[in-house]
Amino acid sequence: MSLVDDKDPDAFEVFYDRHGGAAYSLAHRIVGDPGMAEDVTQEAFLSIWRSKARFDAARGSVRAWALGIVRNRAIDALRSASRPAPKLDRDDDSVLESQPAGERTEAEAIRRETAGRLRKALGVLPREQSQVIELAYFGGFSHSEIAEMLGAPLGTIKGRMRIGLEKIRATLAEGIPEDDVPGAYL
């Protein structure tokens, strides 16, 4: 069933309110530029609105589906602009500090805290494993491009991806929250 077949702007607005923040944050992480992240997010949501794209519930949550579309758009934008790969360190505090803080909500604070915990969990990976995962997911590089970039054999890169991702998955099974904490609870 399509998300947008019924073309209900009010329902779509609620959909954006729920997923827009995560979408913009992901786009910003990938393209590394606020203006471009804004364009990418807008294009991704408009493509969801306009298209007959179908959400396959068997493949995961609505959020993961929407963020997958944002990620693809961001990678395309990055390639079109021939921009360098995003920075690989995880210290995005300087970017955050540049954002207006006045309207941050409790829910956003919780989402940020969740993100922080997840980042910490990812941070336990050895650098060579997190590096290839970040280059692939946030940089949009293929495994052969990463192998060339790092001067390592292709099999080594694939092995690092496999071990790293399996470790993250195992950590997830041990209690990292499966979904964002809903905001504004009492």
Binding site: E108, A115, L118, Y137, H143
Partner: protein
């Protein structure tokens, strides 16, 4: 999880590619080849399904930024304009020419929300993200006559529970909260409590199971919540 490692060298090679595939890092030709293998290999399909939540975790791990307010404004202006055009085309085909100008007036922003309820007849029951046999769906929650007409919400059901997402909720007096109710066989059972954010949006979990539920409703209640509703429902998502 099944483990067929060692069945064949081809299988082992594909198994080693699954993480790169899940990360979108395989070349197009390799991805197509792996997809053919996946069609025939239950063990690899299972392993891929097992890996996918780890990939889904990655976008949620980035620092959460607040999107610029202008983004929402521009996006929704485009969406509403396109909805107007789509509905307007239908009206234009069905009505005399002199009514077309009224159609434009009708769709001015101030009346767009009310008008959409009249024109998108097919959408009256909201939209669904549901496929036969799937456990996920999104249902539009509708404001009652006692609520502001622009109050909006969706109920996203997944694996038996649901998340109720709302916007343009009326501001609450300091000692009030909103309470979610689950209706079954004419009886309302209290669910979660919440207060809206400053921007008048909110999300509330609705723990399941909801399989036998008829509707999910929201009322305004004294802080601490109530065991029985003390005010008229403002929002309703009809489940069946």
């Amino acid at each position: 999880m099944s483990d067929h490692l060692g069945e064949s060298t081809g299988h082992e090679r594909y198994r080693g590619d699954l993480a790169a595939y899940a990360l979108g890092a395989l070349e197009q030709r390799e991805a197509a080849e792996l997809q053919r293998h996946l069609a025939d290999c239950e063990a690899c399909r299972m392993h891929l399904r097992w890996l996918e939540p780890a990939v889904d975790l990655l976008p949620r791990s980035v620092e959460q930024l607040e999107p610029p307010a202008g983004l929402r404004k521009r996006l929704m202006a485009t969406v509403r304009a396109e909805a107007r055009d789509a509905s307007g085309a239908g009206i234009a085909a069905a009505e005399p020419r002199r009514w077309r100008d009224w159609g434009t007036l009708f769709w001015r922003p101030a009346t767009a929300v009310a008008a959409s309820a009249l024109l998108i007849v097919g959408a009256a029951a909201g939209y669904l993200l549901h496929q036969p046999g799937d456990s996920s769906s999104v249902i539009t929650a509708r404001p009652s006559s006692a609520a502001p007409s622009n109050l909006a919400g969706t109920l996203e059901r997944e694996d038996g529970s649901a998340i109720l997402t709302m916007s343009r909720l009326p501001a609450l007096p300091p000692n009030d909260v909103y309470e979610v109710w689950v209706k079954r066989d004419g009886t309302l059972a209290p669910s979660s409590l919440f207060v809206p954010r400053r921007d008048r949006t909110a999300e509330a979990a609705v723990p399941g199971p909801l399989d036998d539920a008829d509707a999910v409703l929201v009322t305004r209640e004294p802080r601490g919540g109530s065991q029985h509703p003390t005010s008229s429902p403002l929002l309703r998502a009809t489940l069946r």
